[in-house]
Symmetry: C3
Subunit: 119 residues, 3 copies
């Protein structure tokens, strides 16, 4: 039941939202081992001025910003998280989304913190 929230420029959404959704979902299956039908993704396209960032933080050359927020049950170790992050950017890059432009932020909760269609 990870919940994925993607914040991105509207033109990127319009061009690639289906492929971005598939890419992130495939990264979850490959790196986190979630079931193929465990997909909950919220996309929010943003207009000019809504995504504010510094081009240089963390010593990269950032040109744009695509934010992937993940809420997941606390169960993945550090190596698994890093593998997942890498899997996401590896799958987004063929769509023209540069790894430098990606920000991923993960927050954790417990199994008891979810309702997914039934108790």
């Amino acid at each position: 039941m990870p919940l994925i929230q993607v914040h991105l420029a509207r033109d990127t959404f319009d061009k690639h939202h289906a492929a971005i959704g598939d890419a992130i979902h495939d990264a979850q299956i490959a790196a986190l081992g979630i079931p193929a039908d465990d997909r909950f993704q919220i996309f929010t396209p943003h207009d000019a001025g809504e995504l504010k960032f510094d081009p240089a933080y963390n010593n990269v050359q950032r040109q744009n910003l695509l934010v992937v927020r993940v809420i997941a049950v606390h169960m993945y170790d550090v190596a698994t998280k890093r593998k997942f992050f890498q899997a996401v950017v590896d799958r987004l890059e063929p769509l023209g989304i540069r790894p430098e432009d990606v920000l991923i932020s993960l927050t954790e909760n417990g199994f008891e913190d979810w309702y997914a269609g039934k108790l």
Copy 2:
């Protein structure tokens, strides 16, 4: 000070946002015991393609997706959380929102993590 964020299809928002807001707020009062004036709700209506989900996850027949995200102080036990989730879906169902179509995700923080109009 729970913060409620609701992500839903735009047509559902247009038809029912007031009643959905009341339903979730009433569920918080009934199940979590919050004060009646402790209401902070952010609704985000979504257009086609923005909410992506699998119809079958968790062995339900999902037709739509309405996500309720809750940020609340860490203070509720598992039984209280389940009671709250049930109270939400029970109150949404009369509005035509099927329990199967609801995803709730709760994340917790501390009392010191809030500013609500004053320190």
Copy 3:
């Protein structure tokens, strides 16, 4: 790598989004000691009915609602958080944003929960 998400009325966004972004970022530098280039802000302007709140909760006279959500690594003590909240509202007030109308909610994660342009 704090991630800032601002939810606000569309007219407030249109008038002041650049100054609000600068104000919150400056508060982070002053109170949290983050690097000047560590800026990731997502603004979501909201239309009528999307922000629901009670005018009186916490014994203030609320007229509007501007929500600042922060995701930050777990590393700040309570006094630092309070200093940050105060720094935010102090810097928003000259823009006509009343402290009473601000809600801030902070959630924490770990260093391993971020990808910012590279691993």
